[in-house]
């Protein structure tokens, strides 16, 4: 049976987004503890290009909230471009308790059941103007433990459809209902702490719009798993979450980061090392009762985002790896079988 991605009732879903996808902001600004981290993350899989857009507010040194835009673009041939732009507090405007944000010339707005993004890089010729309509119901997760009592929460809209234009270096690409993903993460922790993560999304291209999210959080040495899970949506509805001991995860092979784009570019000077523990393939076997899923993520080309550590010198390197997913199994009595584009994110502290 074919299930087309559909745009859900904007009014009903819009109220959910407004209730849960607002900016939390750092308590340090009102005398609370520093260490707050928060970002609103969008991934778009177009025919000719993929986009990763991340608007973040993070307490930096001395508890100063620092706004940043990370914009990465991947051409269909596997070439990555983009950068990280940092703004000062006076260039940030957020409605109290709202979803909307202005960061320098960049805007995120939520209007009529859709996210509207207009983002551009200060020193690179890339601009994206997108409207992302919800094609699945949002979900809010419980706290995900990181380390030392720190935790992170996330709000997710696993599937959206993105339309708009991307302009770069004098070329324009029109996106028309391209599959997309959004999440909003927040918590209080220090980069460079005793944690690492693997996280991935896969969006089916077939008749049934399956969406899968995989996450595993480990200690820094990846000797102990703190949490892991696979979440599966069928069309606009969440179908099943398998987690903890229901999952067996294995990493195979090695992906090289040599020559990969690293942003912001100054981090290639600060943290030039390219040795990295990045697998070529992540295989997840998940089972609960009669439900079983086999997930294979084949990792391909990548770009890296380098974030200065809070708790030590050096940087945390977040590798964004364009991947492909193959998923097979049975959930709630229904066969699940799809292939599709995936993005895998691997977090590794380098020092």
């Amino acid at each position: 049976m074919s299930v087309q991605p559909r745009v859900l009732d904007p009014a009903a879903l819009g109220s959910l987004v407004l209730q849960a996808d607002h900016w939390r902001r750092s308590p340090a600004s009102v005398g609370g503890p520093a260490g707050h981290k928060e970002w609103s993350h969008f991934c778009v899989f177009g025919e000719d290009l993929d986009l990763l857009i991340n608007l973040s507010l993070m307490d930096g040194f001395g508890g100063i909230e620092t706004p940043r835009l990370t914009l990465l673009m991947r051409e269909s041939g596997g070439e990555w471009s983009g950068d990280v732009d940092t703004y000062v507090a006076s260039e940030l405007e957020i409605d109290e308790g709202g979803v909307d944000l202005c960061m320098g010339p960049n805007t995120l707005r939520f209007r009529n059941g859709a996210y509207e993004l207009d983002v551009r890089l200060a020193r690179r010729s890339i601009r994206a103007r997108l409207r992302l309509e919800l094609a699945s119901r949002p979900a809010l997760t419980t706290s995900v433990p990181l380390s030392d009592g720190a935790g992170m929460r996330w709000f997710v809209v696993p599937r959206l459809v993105a339309s708009g234009t991307v302009a770069r270096e004098g070329r324009r690409t029109q996106l028309d209902r391209a599959p997309a993903y959004h999440d909003h993460d927040w918590g209080s922790f220090g980069w460079g702490g005793d944690f690492s993560w693997e996280w991935g999304i896969a969006l089916a291209e077939g008749a049934v719009p399956w969406t899968l999210v995989f996450q595993r959080i480990s200690d820094r040495g990846r000797l102990r798993t703190l949490s892991q899970g696979v979440l599966l949506w069928r069309g606009d509805r969440h179908l099943r979450t398998l987690h903890g001991p229901e999952l067996s995860v294995r990493c195979e092979g090695r992906t090289s980061a040599a020559g990969a784009l690293r942003v912001p570019r100054i981090m290639s000077l600060v943290s030039p090392g390219r040795a990295a523990d990045l697998p070529r393939r992540i295989v997840v076997e998940a089972r609960r009762g009669a439900d079983a899923l086999h997930v294979a993520l084949e990792l391909g080309d990548l770009a890296q985002i380098a974030i200065p550590n809070d708790v030590a010198r050096g940087a945390t390197i977040v590798s964004e790896v364009r991947s492909s997913a193959t998923v097979e199994g049975v959930v709630r009595g229904e066969p699940v079988r799809f292939e599709g584009p995936a993005l895998v994110e691997l977090n590794r502290a380098d020092a």
Binding site: F61, G62, V88, R262, R265, M267, V270, P308
Partner: protein, 147 residues
């Protein structure tokens, strides 16, 4: 506003480091010390040294532990990830002179400076000013030709 040349940029960036990443500034003081470092950028030389925890720029007097010679373009190429430090040295776009111990210490000091700089919210605008000033300098001859 005067064109921010390298000595002005260095002085202001160290003031920002002292204010926004004081631990890095303090470590830099220990690593470079009173003998300090001589920097020649685009033919203009300045010595950076520390008197206790305070940094100071002064004319070089050949007593500096390490001498560095480069140009603004190379600094910006390094900052923009277009060039590695090793390639800058091998391509002779950056020269370093000093004893092995002093050069090793300079490398630690540079790492410390950069590690602090990326944590300072006030540094990106300062760097942008330094970058724009470089463009002005590059464009000047062409502007002169139209007079």
């Amino acid at each position: 506003m005067p064109t921010p040349d390298f000595p002005a940029f260095l002085d202001r960036s160290l003031a920002v480091l002292r204010s926004e990443a004081p631990a890095h500034h303090a470590e830099l003081a220990v690593l470079l010390g009173a003998r300090g470092l001589c920097c020649e950028v685009d033919g203009r030389s300045v010595a950076l040294c520390f008197d206790g925890a305070r940094h100071a720029l002064r004319p070089p007097d050949r007593r500096e532990a390490v001498s560095l010679c480069t140009d603004r373009r190379t600094i910006l190429d390094l900052v923009d990830g277009e060039l590695t430090l090793l390639d800058a040295l091998l391509e002779e776009r950056l020269w370093l002179a000093g004893s092995a111990d002093a050069v090793t210490r300079f490398d630690e000091a540079l790492t410390c400076y950069l590690d602090g700089a990326i944590r300072c919210p006030s540094l990106p605008p300062l760097l942008e000013e330094f970058r724009r000033a470089g463009l002005e300098v590059t464009l000047l001859p062409a502007a002169e030709a139209h007079r």
